[in-house]
């Protein structure tokens, strides 16, 4: 307890990092980013309070590191520092074959692992010009929608936790557990399934699959009303989210925001509707668009999307056609020389796979356009001028998954 245990170290620390609050930040250390559309919001750096949110912080749900500049409670600037979980998946994939690289992609956005695998499989199929059997198409769509539900449930729980209510997290996990059990039975894993392979799906669905999904749908239809009762209708929650984190339609497009985050600002960007893949053109569903542009609009988009996903599953679960679950493919896949791009709607937004092939068994260059990366870049624009608590809520409505951002 004595202050003189390590006097040298104490002095050094004091000299090196002056921890006094309200100190002046050197301009060369925290260089200012120019904000182009709104110069009035640009912060003056002198005498501000700089706080690190992350890399270990309860609100960032991972190892995101935000350096935020505060004036009192008001956020002046948010600067993300990334790379804490960067595994360079793009480089890794360059040495893996077209069958092998798909499993890595489920480690990027682990909450929509099926969609990532799906997007990669689709890109390879596009190159090989494989026709996926109808049964596999329906199974893929069902799995995608179940994953979307699971992801949105987790997001809902985490969102409520970020604004301070802890109970919703457990309620969300209760329902998510049922989806995970369904996944476990059919795909063999709960999170990183590696179920979609080029040409179809890895194994046929489990005999219990249809029964369990129907049970889940019946169960979840009641529970989603409880979600609304507990959080959506709550006056505190509405006050916390309405009118904060506003981003206009033009800015959302310019920042490349996709998914629920952009649809909350009135951008029509659902790849399932715009460029339908698999059987999405045969099922009836609405693209949810909210015009609010604030945190509450983004929240409502995802809540309504859950109901749309239920209706898609409802339409498909009894109509899985008989037949092959996997197209016949060669043992070694070789993509022709060229460039292939496939786009898919994951739970977080548009996921793009860009494969440059030189004709070999491995991709020459592969690029994953991850939705979280673009969505995060808009955080600074949204958060300026709001309170710390609102910034946390905004971050939650963007539905960030950090491995998806870092790749």
């Amino acid at each position: 307890m004595s202050p003189m245990i390590i006097p040298e170290m104490g002095y050094k620390r004091k000299k090196e990092l002056d921890c006094k609050v309200g100190y002046k930040i050197k301009n060369e250390l925290y260089r200012e980013t120019q904000i182009i559309s709104d110069p009035s919001k640009s912060p003056d750096i002198e005498g501000d309070l700089v706080i690190n949110i992350g890399p270990q912080h309860p609100a960032t749900h991972g190892v995101l590191h935000l350096v935020i500049t505060l004036n009192g409670e008001t956020v002046k600037k948010v600067e993300p520092h990334l790379g804490y979980i960067h595994r360079s998946i793009e480089k890794m994939c360059e040495s893996l074959s077209y069958r092998q690289f798909i499993y890595v992609t489920s480690r990027m956005d682990y909450l929509s692992a099926h969609m990532n695998n799906h997007g990669c499989s689709m890109c390879v199929e596009k190159g090989l010009q494989i026709e996926v059997p109808p049964r596999a198409q329906v199974i893929r769509v069902l799995m995608d929608e179940l994953t979307r539900l699971a992801s949105h449930q987790l997001w809902w729980g985490a969102m409520a936790m970020d604004v301070g209510a802890l109970t919703p997290f457990f309620l969300a996990f209760r329902e998510r557990e049922m989806i995970n059990d369904i996944m476990e039975e059919t795909c063999g894993a709960r999170l990183t399934m590696n179920y979609m392979v080029p040409g179809g799906v890895m194994t046929d669905i489990h005999p219990n699959f249809q029964r369990k999904v129907k049970e889940f749908i019946v169960h979840f239809k009641n529970k989603i009303d409880e979600y609304d009762e507990l959080v959506t209708g709550n006056i505190i929650f509405q006050n916390r989210t309405k009118g904060v984190g506003y981003i206009s339609r033009e800015d959302a497009i310019s920042y490349g925001m996709t998914g629920g985050s952009a649809r909350g600002s009135g951008v029509s960007c659902d790849i399932r509707k715009l460029y339908p893949y698999e059987v999405y053109d045969k099922v009836q569903f609405n693209e949810i668009i909210e015009m609010g542009g604030d945190s509450f609009a983004r929240y409502m988009v995802r809540m309504k999307e859950m109901r749309e996903s239920i209706s898609i599953i409802d339409q498909l679960i009894d109509n899985i056609p008989e037949g092959e679950f996997q197209a016949k493919t060669k043992a070694v896949l070789k993509l022709p020389k060229g460039e292939f791009y496939s786009r898919i709607e994951t739970a977080r937004g548009e996921f793009g796979v860009y494969i440059v092939s030189e004709g070999g068994t491995t991709p020459y260059r592969i690029k994953f356009r991850s939705p979280g990366f673009s969505n995060l870049s808009a955080l600074d624009h949204m958060a300026r001028g709001s309170k710390i608590g609102d910034m946390v809520a905004m971050m939650a409505t963007l539905d960030l998954v950090i491995p998806d951002i870092d790749r």
Binding site: R31, E32, T33, Q34, I36, H81, L82, G83, H86, S88, E90, K91, S95, K126, E250, D251, I253, S254, Y255, G256, M257, T258, V267, S268, C269, L274, G338, E339, F340, Y341, R343, E350, G352, Y354, V356, Y364, R365, K367, R369, F373, S374, L376, S377, A378, H381, D406
Partner: protein, 152 residues
Amino acid sequence: MTNEELKKRISEILPGASFEEGGQWLNINMEAKDWRSFSNSLRDLPELNFDYLFCLTCVDWKTHLTMVYHLESTTYRHTIVVKSKLDRNAAEIETVSNIWRTAEFHEREVYELFGVNFLNHPDLRLLILPDGWEGKNPLRKDFEDPVNMIKL
């Protein structure tokens, strides 16, 4: 607009552009020095109106680098791919982060992973790599990490 119309209109704006077809989308090859004015007209001309940059990346071809921009118009839903060859040793291209804001982060990523220098970028710093990173750019083909890379 169909690909043919796009081709016609774009060759009016940028006479030096060459086109590749047969892929998924219309590919446009252009010189890096034209990019500044060309990107502005792509965004601002009302009949083109490419307001959504959904993918920005770079490919290392061992002899040169190629910047690849995937652009889409949210009004007309037409898509083009713009490509530009860059010198591998002195890669430089004009930034588009003032036109498409999403490019700010994507360009920072390309800057550190490929070593492309974006002119007039507002905040060209390392984003993913640790501060003080020295050495080669990890996504280039000649990058070797003797410590962390596992040879299969």
